[in-house]
Symmetry: C2
Amino acid sequence: MAATELRRRGVPDATVARLPAYLRVLAAMADRGVRSTSSEELAAAVGVHSAKVRKDLSQLGTYGVRGVGYDVQHLSLEISRELGMTREWAVVIVGMGHLGRALAGHRGFFARGFRVAGLFDVDPAVIGERVGELTIQDLADLPGTVRGRDAIGVIATPESAAQQVADALVAAGVSSILNLAGGNLAVPDAVDVRPVEVAAELQILAFLRQRRDFDVDLERVAP
Amino acid sequence: MAATELRRRGVPDATVARLPAYLRVLAAMADRGVRSTSSEELAAAVGVHSAKVRKDLSQLGTYGVRGVGYDVQHLSLEISRELGMTREWAVVIVGMGHLGRALAGHRGFFARGFRVAGLFDVDPAVIGERVGELTIQDLADLPGTVRGRDAIGVIATPESAAQQVADALVAAGVSSILNLAGGNLAVPDAVDVRPVEVAAELQILAFLRQRRDFDVDLERVAP
DNA sequence: TAGATTGTTAATCGATTAACAATC
DNA sequence: TAGATTGTTAATCGATTAACAATC
């Protein structure tokens, strides 16, 4: 048992970051009725090399069979468990602008084992409004919704409000935060924050394009 | 000159990924009237260690002064240039659901040098609708909008439509794509795709939380 | 000058990749 | 058995970090 725990502890970050992609592809295969797959097939679907797939999967356990491949159902279940998808996670969304509403209605969340359990805002004009099956609540009511649950907070407010919302989430006992608002959040060590930076991604795309154009120009000058 | 080009070519991926964060912090400092800063200060604001800041910035050029620090304006300008923010990039958004509308109205884009130049959908019910200063166009009219411009395509459709939209973008000459729809896109080598995977980030948060809880349990059993 | 802070070097760490023995 | 494919090893590559000489 100790060995299992040490192994689990040690799944490399780069591997963890790829597990959702493997799980998505495996779920799609299962839907199509595919029973068995190989590292080569998974690699092609996810867009990496097969050695990486084998390395990654071997970090979790010995789920493949030499000469045969991987059982889609079994591997899917093991990755689900590893990612905590066998528990129920309550997702609370703070900020009910277009972005918050987009997330609230996102079918991919439910499909991947998350339940949107609360919608919050501070604007009296939207508090009380019904969005799908939920009613937008005052941010002050957050603690009542998250108490005693495995909750993940999603910040979908303007950047200027992000830190205050993060403070409120932490105070309510939320220790996993997805930050779509931009900016750096100050939170206690025990709290995980994952930023999603759309504007930064655009800048990275601009950088990459500019560099490519530049390299092409260089080739013209000195082929 | 050749040396400059070789250097530029060689900015490591990990550094490129952090440039937008440096630029954001520097812009905020400039707004507050701060003239000069240090690697230590930048590091604190971005949430990394100062050695990394110095290493990153030294990849771009020699913009600091030993014993003094960095000039906020100057460094800001250099990073802007490196990220291509001195050109104008036309952002076209495909998919005018809540997510697409959230992006269309995002003030952070404009602030960071991007111009939303086109909004597209295939649903006749929304084509022609005005959103901010633009009118939603038929996806078929994409080529007219992007012709002759540095364009970045943003896919904000459901996952099921993502590949078709990517094909349309590529056919129209767009070679930088931000994919918010999920899934893996097949595109030519000369096209850059950056995925933004909200659902995957939630799964990673769930994984990290589960591992932390598990480690705490372990400590209780064997302190 | 003395104090401060960069840019760079070297050491360390982690991730990727290729190759192949193990084994179904 | 012969062919296929994994799991693992070793080599390579890239990123991080600590330390400090250079220098304002």
